[in-house]
Structures are given as C-alpha cells and as structure tokens.
C-alpha cells in the first residue's frame, strides 16, 4: 500500500497498519487482502462482488475491519457484504470508505450491507465516509443497509460523513424482533455543492423492541441535505427519532422525521430542529479570545462529536 492508501485508511478506520484479527481490504474495486480468524470467517461471494462475514455464536471481544479505498478516477464499485452474526456473539465491525479522486471522472462506491444478527448478539458498527483529491471527478457513496435483528439482540451503528463526499444517498432499513434494541447515530457535514440524503425505515415488529435514531448534521455553503427517518411500531415498543441540524451560508436542509404506530402500545416520539449557530454562542467563545471562525469550528466539532 502507498501513502495515499494509508492516509485514507487512517481517515476512515483510524488504522495505521493492516489490522490485527479478521479483515478484508478492498482497493479500487477488487479484494486486496483478507484474513479470517477462528471465530470470524470472511468468504468472497461467488455470484457477485462482495463477501460474507460469518461470526460464530458466542464469539466475544473480537473485531472485523472491512475498509474500502478508491484512489483511481472513474471507478464504479458495487459491493455486497452480508454479515451473519451468531447467537450471543459480541463484535465490533469497522467499515468505511475513503475516496481519493484526483482525476476528472467520477468515483463511486455503493456498499450493500445486510446484517443478520442472531439472538442476544451484540454488535457495534462504525462507518466513516471520507473523500479527498483535487480532481474535478465527483466522489459518490450510496450505501444501502438492511438490518435484521433477532430476539434480544443489540445493534449500535455509528455512521459518519465529515468531509469530501460530493453526493450520498443512504438507504437503511431495520427489522426488530422482540426485545431487540437498535441505536443509530448519524453525523454528517456537507460543504460546497454537496448533496446528502438519508432515508431510514425502522420496523419494530416484536414486543419490547426499541430504537433510537439520532441524526446530527451541519450544512455549509450551498450544500443540500434531506433526512427522512421513519419509525414504525407494530407491537408494544419504544422508539425515539431525533434530527438536529445546523444550517449555514446558503445551505438547504430538509428534515422529515416520520413515526407510525400500528399498535396502541407503541410509544414513538420524534423531534426535529434546524437552526443557525446562535450569536450568543459565538460571542461567548469570542470572549475566550477566539475569532469568529475558530468559535464556529468549536461549535460545529462539538455538535458533531
């Protein structure tokens, strides 16, 4: 791997070297290297691009890294990753895609991820999207995520897109059985003329399933964001949807949280707020000796932390 690859790897997965444990590294539309462990098996798909990640039941304290890097202009990468998490397993999954596009053609990566999470299994999934490069070519990421949670399972997802992605359309769906718990935290910053859209449908199918969806975003310059999370309660369940955005410059943010109850015992709440940085916040930080830009930076990075 060269320096650009390593930089991207660090930006999306905090990795300074090839990770220990199970991993699959994909570069420019092809598998680069891969490692399975006793409990976590990574198998390339035969019918289409992508991998199956199979975590054995009762696996504890292990992690899987599946970073994707694109450094060539004009790559259009579509990949299917299926996760099979055995009952009672507890794993950390670190995904993410970094694009360095210094050419004039677009570079695109669409990751189709499906999670089958077994009974009482617990996963934490962290995904960072990042783009760089000074070419005119667009950097596009369109992830599709499907989550199927069996009884008593816990899925915590952290999805972050902080910089450099020109266009992203995110489509997520989750299906929760009894006692399953889903926590999704989405953090997004768009600038320039970027476009980001996130559609999310969470179906709470079983008794006492619960979901918490938190979306925090900052839209700068002329960028445009659309959020449309929908929590659908089909049984006695709890869900909380929260969308909170800071709007700046000439940006445009549309927040459309939806909640649907098909059971009288479903308790579902949504909150949404869009607002600019408040002047008192800026002044307060300026009384510490920061200038306006520094104050803005502190407010934004705190908000997206």
């Amino acid at each position: 791997m060269n320096k650009t690859d390593m930089n991207l790897l660090e930006a999306i997965a905090d990795l300074h070297e090839i990770p220990a444990g199970a991993y699959n590294l994909r570069i420019n539309g092809g598998g680069h290297s891969r490692n399975s462990t006793a409990n976590i098996e990574i198998v390339p798909k035969e019918d289409k691009p992508g991998i199956d990640i199979i975590v054995a039941p009762d696996t504890k304290n292990e992690s899987v890294h599946i970073p994707v890097i694109i450094t060539e202009s004009g790559i259009d990468d579509l990949v299917y990753n299926d996760f099979y998490i055995g009952d009672n397993a507890e794993v950390l999954i670190v995904a993410g895609c970094g694009i360095h596009n210094s050419g004039d053609e677009k570079s695109q990566h669409d990751g189709i991820h499906t999670f089958h999470i077994g009974k009482n299994a617990k996963i934490k999934y962290v995904e960072k999207h990042y783009g760089e490069g000074d070419g005119k070519g667009e950097r596009i990421l369109n992830p599709v995520t499907v989550i199927e949670q069996d009884e008593g399972s816990v899925c915590e997802m952290e999805m972050v897109q902080i910089k450099g992605v020109d266009s992203t359309v995110r489509d997520s769906k989750a299906y929760l059985k009894a006692g399953a718990k889903l926590i999704i935290t989405e953090r997004l910053l768009t600038h320039g003329e970027q476009y980001a859209r996130s559609d999310m449908d969470v179906y709470l199918e079983g008794e006492d399933a619960s979901a918490q969806i938190i979306s925090r975003s900052v839209a700068k310059d002329k960028s445009k964001q659309i959020f449309h999370p929908n929590a659908i309660g089909n049984a006695r369940c709890r869900a909380h949807v929260q969308c909170d955005s800071i709007i700046m410059d000439e940006a445009n943010v549309s927040s459309i949280p939806a909640i649907t109850a098909n059971s009288a015992d479903a308790q579902i709440v949504h909150e949404a707020a869009i607002g600019r940085i408040n002047n008192d916040q800026l002044i307060k930080l300026m009384t510490f000796g920061m200038n306006e830009e520094e104050a803005e930076e502190v407010i934004i990075s705190g908000f997206l932390k």
Binding site: R216, D244, N278, D280, Q281, I283, K284, L285, M286, T287, F288, G289, M290, N291, E292, V298, I299, G302, F303, L304, K305
Partner: protein
C-alpha cells in the same frame, strides 16, 4: 485601569434613537472589587456589554491601561485580558463542561483543576465534568458553570453580569465565598453587576446606575449606607425581581 469617557449608547426604535446609556464617564481602578447596581432597565448590563465589546458605543471612548479599545472586537479585548460572564449563558450541544473550561483557560485543563473550579461554584465536580453544556442543565447549573469559566482564566478585568440570578439560596453562600476569594485572587479587577446585599458587602467601589447615568459612585462605605437608606424609604430596588436583561 479601565476608563470610560463620555460613553453613550442608543438603539434605533422605529427610526428614533432610544438612549440606553447617557454620557457616562467613570474609572475602574486596578485591584478593586467593583459592584455596579441600580434599578432594572437602568443600563447596567448594557454598560458591561460595552466594556466587553459586544455592543459598540454611539459616542465616547473606552481606555484600557491607556489603550483606546473603543473600536476593538470582542476577541481583541479578550486577548487583552477582559472577560465576561453572561447573565443568560448560551448552551452548546455536544460541548462538555470540561471542554468549555479548557477553552476558557486556553489549554487542556487537568481534571483536578477543573474540579476545583466547579467545586468553588458549588457543583459536585465529578458529576459535571463530562456533562454537556446543553439544555439538560438547569438555569442555575449553567449559570454556575458560566462563573467557573471566568475562574479558569487570569484576567485584567473580569465582569460578571448578575451572577446570583437563578442561583438557589444554598449555593449563593458558596458563591459569595468564591467572589470573596476572587477579589484577592486570579483577576486584577472584578466588576460584578448585582442586586445582592451580600455581594455589595464585598465591594471596594460601588457604582449606582439609573436611567443610563451614574447616580452615585464611591467607596462602599460612602455609597452602601445611603443606598440602604433609600431602600427603606421607598421600596424601589429590593421588591423588584432580579434578572432583567437591561
């Protein structure tokens, strides 16, 4: 030394100028604890905001240690050593109390130092260090953290705008102690806008502002007894609720 020369400030209301501060001149001596008091709507908070640079005067000059700071920004004045604790502190989503105190100090504060500032404003520090400065804090909690942000700095002039507003009686005693310590501590001079007798008792200098003008100014021994006499004659100040944003 902070010096205000013929400071006036007015705002535009329906095309007409409404005077808030009317030709005020005063000096805040170094090393002094100055309490500014007076009726609500008299211009106290505006005066403090003019000193910090949040508002710019429509006439007059402000001098700090001989330098004309009238046209300086909030940032520049902060760098010169002027600090301000808001009457209604703003909230920050995602910013922890510890981070805010560190930003105030200008460097990453060690945990024990953060704790000592929080303790001195009556907050159990361990519970608060990693709390976010958002709307989950009560008004009194946010207010005490605001005061702590000035404690974390070494200032030439530290200005507190009604620090007692929204603080319960139990914490208030502690706050008075903290201000007592502050008068001989970190900051060169301390200016407190207050309606509280116990804070006035700490004053070296007292300034009474009413109708945008200095009504009285002098040492505590000169001003305080007269003020108390005024209270008993006409219940003008005491009966009014503290906390207006002048």
């Amino acid at each position: 030394m902070l010096k205000l020369e013929n400071i006036s400030f007015s705002v535009d209301v329906d095309g007409k100028g409404l005077g808030i501060i009317d030709n005020i001149s005063l000096e805040i001596p170094d090393g002094a604890f100055t309490v500014i008091t007076g009726p609500n709507g008299g211009g106290k908070s505006t005066l403090a905001r003019l000193i910090m640079g949040i508002e710019k005067p429509t006439a007059g000059r402000i001098l700090y240690n001989g330098t004309d700071i009238t046209d300086m920004s909030v940032t520049e004045r902060a760098k010169l050593g002027i600090g301000f604790a808001f009457q209604h502190p703003p909230r920050f989503k995602g910013l922890t109390v510890r981070r805010l105190l560190s930003l105030a100090a200008g460097y990453e504060l060690p945990e024990d130092e953060c704790c000592s500032y929080l303790t001195s404003v009556g907050l159990c520090s361990k519970d608060y260090l990693n709390r976010e400065m958002d709307n989950s804090l009560s008004g009194g909690e946010a207010k005490r953290i605001e005061i702590a942000t000035l404690m974390a700095r070494k200032l030439g002039v530290a200005i507190f705008d009604e620090p007692e507003a929204g603080i319960d009686l139990w914490s208030f005693s502690m706050l008075v102690e903290s201000f007592k310590a502050m008068s001989s501590g970190n900051h060169n001079s301390v200016i407190v806008i207050s309606h509280q007798e116990r804070i006035m008792q700490l004053a070296d200098t007292m300034i009474v502002i009413a109708d945008g003008k200095v009504r009285t100014m002098g040492s505590k021994d000169e001003v305080f007894p007269a003020l108390m006499g005024e209270f008993s004659e006409n219940c003008g100040f005491r009966g009014k609720e503290a906390g207006g944003n002048e």
